[in-house]
Symmetry: C2
Subunit: 209 residues, 2 copies
DNA sequence: TAAGTAATTTACCGGATGGTAAATTCGGCG
DNA sequence: CGCCGAATTTACCATCCGGTAAATTACTTA
């Protein structure tokens, strides 16, 4: 082996394993920086590989994103689905859902932001697929938020929309905080959320001036 | 006037007016797409002018961002400051603050996201200045959230941090919803928030399994 | 009407990024 | 050993973006 002039050639990593490595790195990068902000070079560097390889394995940047999205979406959708259960909203449903999400996300928390990326090229397949997943999850949540509003007598459909929107973003916020506090376990997070909920309750029974 | 071969030359728009036009367009673009996502060409096109002119008027992209940030930050900080008032947190403080923010934002709602842009080049002046404004506002909010937690007996500093974080992002979420519903007046928004708060209260008095 | 200044564009440059075609090396198998 | 296919890189290209120097036109005033 006389000083290889080129570093090309296989490194002995089997195809499937590389696939997984790339997928993992890409999910982190997309989650942390968004589709637009993530760079293929950065993902490649993280794996210790060249940009070109990503293309050979997954095609377009958008294709790679979709490849990351699908498992994450499936996992989260399943988690929320079974946390809601067959029966309607009960008082502890929100916390159950949160706990399910935290658990599903442990070991790859940024994955949440792959699903809720706002920088996807509009009109593309990535945006479509992500929107589908979000819609499925939102549909589950919609039942819960609607129950809430009905209980307080509001029938305004915009109220329902806003509440759905707020709930969804609240989860994103909590996950974002969680990402910045890696030592917190999923259970610890759920308990913290329970405390925050009760704290927030103390400011509720007051209307506008 | 024999068919001008070049479109260069003044269009008769006085300097100060152009400045304002550019500032307005840039604020919208930065607010809608973030610093990283916004392009100088797009801003220039919106004004009907060339990229180069932006540089001549404001310098660097980051300089332009700062020029947009300062008035927005000042306006919002002032609004929150006087909505909180000299006396501590009262039950209706949150809604008062929200109303102040909505009012300050009317006529340029995306401006909020200039202040809370997450895509600023780290280490730069823009990030520093924005962080300063956010810190000032957060400091005001911190008093309020701390009061909430004390009332419920929690002394965990992480709880306080998380609550501050959640409150801040909740405002962002509400503004984002508002941006998508342009017909809603600031007052209508505040009233909607009041309803949402009471609705959210119905899910509070429940701890984890 | 000619000079001078203010406003604005044209024509570039360098760097980063997504993407592609072709070459190169390594591992296993006859 | 020699061949073949799998894994991976090298070397490019086009595009977009932020940024700069120099030219060009319109407005104003003497």
């Amino acid at each position: 082996m006389a000083t290889p002039r080129s570093k090309a050639g296989t490194k002995g990593v089997p195809r499937e394993q590389r696939r997984q490595q790339i997928l993992a790195a890409a999910t982190e990068e997309f989650g942390a920086n968004g589709f637009a902000g993530a760079s293929l070079a950065a993902i490649a560097a993280r794996v210790g590989v060249t940009k070109t390889l990503l293309h050979q394995y997954f095609g377009t940047k958008e294709d790679l994103y979709v490849a990351c999205l699908v498992p994450v979406g499936d996992r989260l959708l399943a988690a929320v689905e079974d946390a809601m259960g067959p029966d309607g909203t009960t008082p502890d449903t929100p916390l159950r859902v949160l706990h399910a999400i935290f658990t599903a996300l442990e070991g790859g928390r940024e994955a949440w932001f792959v699903l809720y990326d706002t920088s996807l090229p509009p009109g593309g397949e990535a945006a479509r697929r992500a929107a589908q997943y979000r819609a499925s999850i939102d549909r589950l949540a919609a039942g819960g938020t609607a129950d809430l509003l009905r209980a307080t007598g509001s029938t305004d459909p915009l109220d329902a929309d806003a509440l759905k929107y707020v709930w969804r973003d609240l989860v994103s916020t909590l996950v974002r905080w969680w990402v910045k506090h890696p030592e917190q376990s999923p259970t610890a997070m759920t308990q913290r959320c329970a405390r925050l909920f009760t704290a927030a309750a103390t400011l509720t029974p007051h209307l506008q001036p």
